[in-house]
Amino acid sequence: MTDKFKSVPIKSSEITPYSQYISRRDFLKAAGIVTGSALLAACAPQATGTAVPEGEAPVVPSGSYTDELGDPANSFKDITNYNNYYEFTTDKEGVAPLSKDFNSKPWTVEVYGMVNNPKTYGIEDLLSRFTQEERIYRLRCVEAWSMVIPWTGFTLASLLKEVEPTSDAKYVRFEAVYRPEEMPGQKSPFYPWPYQEGLRIDEAMNDLAILATGLYGQPMPNPNGAPIRLVVPWKYGFKSIKAITKIELTDKQPETLWSSVSPNEYGFYSNVNPDRPHPRWSQATERRVGELGRRPTLMFNGYAEQVADLYAGMDLSVYY
C-alpha cells in the first residue's frame, strides 16, 4: 500500500496537464495580473523556481515528484519559505528567516506514559533504527490552501510498536519544543505554549501517519519543523505538530493548542472535510499553492480509502 505514495520515475511533465505544470509566474502573466506587463516582462529577471535557502542545494528538481493523483510536488523553495509556524511568527514568509539559527542538534524525543518500554531516543537513533521511506503527501491547511510535499520519515506505528503501548493507552499526545529564547513567537502571551497535539491510538497506528525527518531527501529544514515532526495527511495541517520532543501514551483525550484557543473552530479530530465549513469560512475548495483558481477539497484530503474506516459510525459534524 505504501508504494502508492512513493515517487515514481516518470516525469510529471509527461502526465500532468501543462496548465498545472507551468510556473506560477507564467500563470500570473497569463492572467494579465499586471496590465501592460507583457512588454516589461521581457526585460525582467527570470523567476528561479529552484532557489533554496542559503547553504542547501536541491538534489532533485521538483518536476520528477508527483503524488498518486498525478499532481506535481511544490518546489523546495515554496515548501521551505511559506510556513505556518507560530512559534516563530504568524507571518508565513517570516518563518524561514527567523528559524535560520534554530538549533536542532542535539535532539531527543521522550516516549513515555502508558507503555511497557518507555524510552528516550536521540534523533540519530530514530534515523538509524527505523527504515526511512519517502511519502509524497498532500498537505491541506485549514486556511484553504494546499501543497504536495515529498517527505521522508518512518511510520508512527513502527515507533509505537517498539515502546509497546499498554491496553489502557487510548490516545497519543505530542508535545513540541519550548524555547522562547530561540522562538520569538513563544513569547506571545496569546497562545498556551508549548504546542500540543493528539491522535487517537488507532489513528496513530494507521500506516499513513508518519514521523517525518526530512523532505526532498534532505534533513528536515528548520521552517518545516526540524528535526522531526508528525505528518497526518488526512487532517488539517495544524495537526501535524512540528519539532516534537515528547510523545505520551495516555487514556485521556489530550488537550491540543488550537482547540484550547478556539474550541468551536478547531476540533480534536480536524479531519479534512469539505462538507463541514469552518465557522468563518468554507472548506469546500482550496488553492494549490502555485496555481490560480480553486480545486474542490477532497474528503479526508483524498485519503478516504485508507482512513474512512477509522470514523465508521461517527457523526463527523459533531466530532470535527
Binding site: 500570473l28 495580473i33 516589461l40 529577471p45 508565513k92 496569546f190 484557543v261 478556539s262 468554507s282 483558481g293
Partner: protein, 226 residues
C-alpha cells in the same frame, strides 16, 4: 522640486506617496518574483490591509483636526476615501478573478459558508455610492443629503475592521490567538467615532483651547521677561 512644494503641501505629498506605495511595491515584487509562494493570498491580504488602513486614515482626519486644529486634514479626506475604494476594488477583483477564476458556483457556495465575505461585500457595496458621489458636482446636487449619505462610512469602517479581524486565527473572548492587531484597529476606530459625538467634541475643543491659551500666555510672559 521647489515648484512641487509650491503646488502641493508636505501632507499632500506624504498621503499620495503612502497611498500608491503598496501598489508600487506589489508591481515591483511581481517583477522580482517576490510575491511569496502563494501570490494570490499575498495580493489579497496586502491590498485588503491597505484599503483598511486608508479607510481608517480617512476617518482619522476629522477627530485629528478637532484635537490639533489642523484644518488641512479635512481637505485630504476625499482622496484617502477614494484610494481606499481603489484598493478595495483591486482586492475584490483579485478574489473573484485570480483566487476563484470567476467560478461562480464556487464563489456563491463560499458566500453561503463565510460570514467574513458577507460583511466585506456589504462594506464594499456601501462604498460604491460614496465613491460615486465624492465629486463636487454631486456634493452640490445632493445638498444636505450628501452629508447624510457619507455618514455611511461610520458603519462601513467597523464592518471592514470586522472583515479584517475575522481573517485572523484567534478568539477575543478567551484573549487567545492572533488578536492584537485587529484589537488595536478596533480601538482606534472606536476612539475616532466617539470623538465625533458633539458633546465629546465640544469638550475636547474647550480643553484644547485652554491649553493653547496657557501656552500662548506663557510664551508672552517669557518674551516679556527676556
Amino acid at each position: 522640486m521647489k515648484t512641487i512644494f509650491k503646488r502641493y503641501t508636505p501632507l499632500q505629498i506624504a498621503m499620495h506617496v503612502y497611498a500608491w506605495s503598496v501598489l508600487v511595491i506589489l508591481i515591483f515584487q511581481y517583477f522580482t518574483g517576490d510575491l511569496t509562494a502563494d501570490p494570490v493570498q499575498y495580493l489579497e491580504r496586502r491590498t485588503g490591509h491597505h484599503a483598511v488602513a486608508l479607510l481608517i486614515l480617512s476617518l482619522a482626519c476629522t477627530p485629528l483636526n478637532t484635537l490639533f486644529k489642523w484644518s488641512e486634514l479635512l481637505k485630504r479626506r476625499r482622496a484617502l476615501g477614494l484610494y481606499a475604494f481603489m484598493y478595495a476594488t483591486i482586492h475584490v477583483l483579485i478574489y473573484l478573478h485570480l483566487d476563484f477564476g470567476l467560478a461562480w458556483s464556487f464563489i456563491l457556495q463560499n458566500f453561503t459558508q463565510d460570514p467574513r465575505l458577507i460583511v466585506g461585500l456589504i462594506a464594499f457595496l456601501l462604498l460604491i455610492p460614496l465613491a460615486w458621489t465624492s465629486f463636487d458636482i454631486w456634493k452640490k446636487r445632493l445638498g444636505k443629503n450628501w452629508k447624510r449619505l457619507h455618514k455611511a462610512v461610520y458603519l462601513i469602517v467597523p464592518l471592514v475592521v470586522l472583515h479584517f479581524a475575522w481573517n485572523k486565527k484567534g478568539n477575543i473572548f478567551t484573549a487567545q490567538g492572533d488578536i492584537a492587531q485587529p484589537l488595536i484597529y478596533g480601538l482606534i476606530v472606536i476612539i475616532f467615532l466617539v470623538m465625533r459625538i458633539p458633546q465629546v467634541r465640544r469638550g475636547i475643543v474647550s480643553v484644547r483651547d485652554r491649553i493653547r491659551g496657557q501656552y500662548r500666555k506663557q510664551r508672552a510672559v517669557h518674551q516679556v521677561s527676556s
